[in-house]
């Protein structure tokens, strides 16, 4: 009998407000340590939290996007523990009544069908600061710039059955968050962090004891950590052992995890209602307004691209990876309305590939949608061939000239004059008598040879359609 894997995920994502959750300090990343602090986020005596309303709105927006219930009255609680980067000695979080409950996300699976992953809750909380121990010769430093930065904790149901499903869920969630513009979700900057609860059991039996894997900060490590943990638990059980409930830390260098603390060592956080903050009341009208301002979500956009522009599911998927890319595509279509499919091909296959090599994303593209449209216009009106257009695009990435200027300067204009093409064909036929004889004797495959030779002789500028048509006539003699 096989093992079934059960995975639930907790994602902490930083809400991208300009100021912190409970004070006016900046949330900018990478500043001088402790330069973005004030008496409130330093936990000084007598200081009180005041909730950032925009962080609430962004959490509501996220809740609506995962089809969840918004609690019109939720509560803040204090989670008590001592750590030097937690200035107040407690974290303000939502424990008993979170802002968002009962949502879900549909994820793609290998079979091609979608699978629904339940999302138990999204609650708001504040981040802690950062402790630094390495290279400080036995001294620890504390940076409280991150202290009080608003977070959403997004808690899934234990609905995933493999590491691949977990990754699919995380990618879907990551994409959604970026679309909603509720978080930078940059994993390297710690703006999107994941804890995974993993257990194994025999199908049809109760869930096994779970282990919690902490602070996984790349999709690759998450997959590795889950797979490692699944194997560890299966081996343990098959060797007659028992999984214990514990928190484990994955070491991405060693590719293994170790126990951080057992259930017995688990903290008693002594949660209780935060008396400094009244219950969080939101109004239905506020929720409705936020819903009305909801941007198009990835799935909706994908479907619209397929129907409105006739794109293949694959192209539609590629072009809706980020809101910026989708917007770029639509700007391109608007500027080059004649052929949305050509737009998709040139953006997805040509421009994105080149940008990837340059290490740039679409927002930093040296070629604007308008300039690319100018190039596609020249393909459409047969001024240049698609092949020449690729060279023009290469040139466009290196300068700020329009396609027309480059075509003009390099003399790349396509030859569509039948007299000129016939002249080239004649000279090619004259230069290759043996092949001509072969073709005329029935070797049809030599057609390709002649096309190549003619294109070469025209330095690629001959209109390929016309070359084919004229060759068909002239070769026969």
């Amino acid at each position: 009998m096989s093992w079934e894997v059960v995975i639930g995920l907790e994602v902490h994502t930083q809400i991208n407000t300009a100021t912190k959750a409970f004070c006016g300090c900046s949330t900018a990343f990478g500043s001088e340590p402790n330069s973005q602090t004030c008496p409130v986020c330093l936990g000084m005596p007598g200081q009180l939290p005041v909730l950032n309303g925009l962080a609430v709105d962004k959490s509501i927006l996220t809740g609506l996007a995962i089809n969840a219930d918004i609690n019109l009255e939720s509560k803040f609680d204090r989670k008590n523990y001592f750590y030097p980067d937690l200035p107040k000695g407690y974290q303000i979080t939502q424990f008993t009544v979170p802002l968002v409950e009962n949502g879900y996300l549909d994820i793609p699976t290998k079979s091609g069908e979608e699978k629904r992953i339940g999302i138990t809750r999204i609650h708001m909380e504040e981040d802690a600061g950062k402790s630094m121990h390495e290279g400080l010769d036995g001294v620890s430093h504390i940076d409280l710039n991150r202290s009080g930065v608003p977070l959403m904790e997004i808690v899934s149901e234990p609905d995933m059955r493999s590491a691949d499903e977990a990754i699919a869920y995380l990618k879907q969630l990551h994409q959604l968050i970026l679309f909603l513009d509720v978080s930078g979700a940059n994993m390297e900057m710690g703006q999107f962090r994941c804890d995974a609860n993993v257990s194994v059991h025999r199908p049809g039996t109760p869930f096994g004891t779970r282990a919690e894997l902490k602070n996984l900060n790349s999709f690759r490590f998450i997959k590795q950590a889950i797979e490692y943990e699944v194997n560890r638990q299966i081996e343990l059980i098959e060797d007659g052992g028992e999984v214990v409930q514990e928190t484990r830390l994955y070491d991405s260098v060693l590719g293994e995890s170790r126990s951080m603390r057992s259930k017995e060592e688990a903290h008693d956080y002594r949660y209780f209602p935060e008396p400094d903050l009244p219950p969080l009341r939101v109004y239905q009208q506020q929720v409705d307004t936020i819903r009305a301002g909801m941007p198009e979500l990835p799935g909706q956009l994908r479907r619209r691209f397929e129907t409105e522009y006739g794109l293949s599911p694959y192209d539609a998927d590629v072009l809706t990876q980020t809101r910026a890319l989708a917007g770029w595509y639509e700007a391109l279509v608007a500027a080059h309305a004649s052929d949305p499919k050509r737009c998709a091909n040139w953006l997805a296959n040509e421009l994105l590939g080149r940008l990837k090599e340059l290490g740039k994303d679409i927002e930093a593209s040296p070629v604007s949608a308008h300039r690319l449209a100018g190039l596609l216009d020249r393909i459409a009106d047969s001024t240049i061939s698609g092949k020449i257009a690729k060279d023009v695009l290469d040139a466009m990435l290196e300068c700020s000239d329009d396609a027309d200027a480059i075509i003009e300067a390099k003399g790349l204009k396509q030859v569509s004059d039948s007299g000129a093409i016939d002249a080239i064909i004649e000279s090619v036929m004259a230069a290759n008598p043996d092949q001509l004889a072969g073709y005329r004797a029935g070797k049809d495959k030599l057609m390709g040879f002649f096309v190549g030779q003619v294109m070469k002789a025209s330095r690629g500028q001959a209109n390929p359609g016309m070359v084919n048509a004229r060759l068909g006539v002239l070769l026969k003699g």
Partner: protein, 492 residues
């Protein structure tokens, strides 16, 4: 002069009879002369006080005087002030200088007050006698072998002995009203949410409220007027709190038509007979002024002490976690590791009573006990609120003794925390219900002051002031001064 009220001093300042500097000097001299026997002030900077008074005189020369122009006000050591140290009378805040003023301190400065210094208190406001202070015991001017009450004992003692004409206190379970009662002065705890808590060192956030301690009802109204108002920096400060005409509310001289509730649970066996007699006499006086006394019941009163001593320590256990030796305040010498730093810094920095409350609170919140203690206490709190709401359907206002006893001897109850906790038995239900309460002097027994407590519905401080000023106008208890500190040949 020193035993004058703020209003008297204000009219003499306004009349040009004296200057703010002269007023300040008079009280500074008294602090220097008497503080040694009372230990009411824990910090005072003479030059800084004079500088403020000079600035006030200069302001007055150019402008209309502000609400508290040139008036000396002392503040409990729980209010953060940019000037001078803020210690909450605890060793753990050794060396701490707040880089900010509490919101109410800003309000007082804007009103032109002269801040004369910091007054003694129970450490972190945890106590009813001002004996747990890191700066030593504070004493009652009516009998220096006795305590002044607490936790705002320094403010009460200083006002009663006229070392300052008025002071600020804070009240979490009676910490303004009980010492006011024991020292024979007036103390007002406003409705929860009326005064911003920002910059006031937190004891129990859902109960704490700052208020005035003064020599008259009108002074209390005047000082409250300067303190109140919405503060966007305190989410529990109420934005649309009903407005009170603070000074006009003090013009009442009779109680015609007033229905006063007399709760049977506040007149019980075991309380001091002298206290009971004085309060009963005061209620007779109220009847003479036209009030109707109605016997009422607040049936859940007996659970108030237990509920309070779960809720307040629970909140305190978290509020005091920030004193960890990491960023400010006391840190132990040469810690072995992080845990050692935490435990020794806190062990050395906190006094016994503070530790007792942190432990009590942490226990009440811990897994497996939360429902039985914290949650149950919150349910009791709701019942107590309902008791008051039902009572206020029958009566306009409630009158009780402020404290079941008069000032007790220094050291009398320090070994018996439970008996000490009962000192607040008549005051702490008011905090649990978030209501406004006022204590005013209403008699003397065995040479010690007795306090009368008024309790009104939320936001009806005007009713407290109406009743208290009518009572005050018909009696002379507020005018009494402790003889040892009285002045012969008042020179001003």
């Amino acid at each position: 002069m020193p035993f004058s009220t703020l209003s008297d001093i204000q009219s003499r300042l306004n009349g040009g009879e004296i200057t703010a500097v002269e007023v300040a000097q008079l009280y500074l001299d008294r602090i220097e002369a008497h503080n040694e026997s009372l230990n009411a002030f824990v910090y005072m900077d003479r030059a800084h006080v004079i500088a403020q008074a000079e600035a006030s005189d200069a302001y007055r020369a150019q402008h209309e005087p502000r609400l508290l122009e040139g008036l000396p006000i002392a503040v409990k050591d729980i209010f953060c002030t940019q000037d001078g140290p803020t210690r909450c009378c605890s060793s753990i805040l050794e060396g701490f200088d707040a880089p900010y003023d509490a919101h109410v301190i800003t309000r007082l400065k804007e009103a032109g007050a002269v801040l004369v210094g910091k007054t003694n208190m129970d450490e972190f406001a945890m106590g009813s006698s001002t004996e747990t202070s890191a700066f030593g015991v504070c004493r009652n001017p009516w009998d220096v072998s006795r305590i002044p009450g607490g936790s705002s004992g320094g403010s009460a003692s200083a006002v009663a002995a006229a070392l300052t004409p008025a002071a600020l206190g804070t009240d979490t379970g009676g910490s303004i009203r009980q010492p006011a009662s024991l020292c024979g002065i007036t103390g007002l705890k406003p409705t929860y949410g009326r005064v911003s808590r920002r910059g006031i060192i937190a004891f129990a956030s859902s109960l704490d409220q700052a208020g005035p301690m003064t020599r008259s009802v009108r002074d209390a109204a005047m000082l409250t007027e300067a303190m109140v108002g919405h503060d966007a920096g305190d989410a529990t400060s109420v934005a649309d709190a009903p407005i009170v005409s603070w000074l006009a509310a003090c013009d009442k001289t009779d109680m015609k038509g007033l229905k006063i509730g007399k709760p049977k649970e506040y007149f019980v066996d075991g309380m001091d007979a002298g206290v009971r007699a004085e309060v009963e006499a005061a209620l007779k006086q109220c009847e003479a002024l036209g009030a109707e006394i109605v016997d009422i019941s607040l049936p859940h009163t007996e659970y108030a002490v237990a509920a309070y001593y779960v809720i307040a320590p629970s909140e305190a256990s978290a509020n005091l976690s920030r004193y960890d030796g990491v960023r400010f305040g006391h840190r132990c010498d040469a810690p072995d590791d992080l845990l050692d730093m935490y435990t020794r810094s806190r062990d050395e920095g906190f006094g016994t009573e503070v530790k007792r409350r942190i432990l009590t609170g942490a226990y009440a919140l811990s897994s497996g006990y939360y429902d039985a203690y914290y949650l149950k206490a919150q349910k009791v709190r709701t019942l107590i609120q309902q008791d008051f709401m039902q009572a206020f359907e029958q009566v306009d206002i409630i009158a009780t003794p402020t404290s079941p006893v008069t000032a007790f001897q220094v050291g009398e109850k320090t070994d018996d925390p439970l008996t000490m906790y009962l000192s607040d038995i008549f005051t702490l239900a008011v905090n649990l219900a978030g209501l406004p309460g006022l204590s005013q002097p209403c008699g003397m027994t065995a040479g010690l002051p007795v306090g009368l407590q008024w309790i009104a519905p939320a936001w009806r401080e005007d009713l407290l002031l109406n009743a208290a000023s009518a009572y005050e106008s018909a009696t002379a208890w507020s005018d009494l001064a402790p003889e040892a500190f009285a002045v012969k040949g008042d020179k001003v």
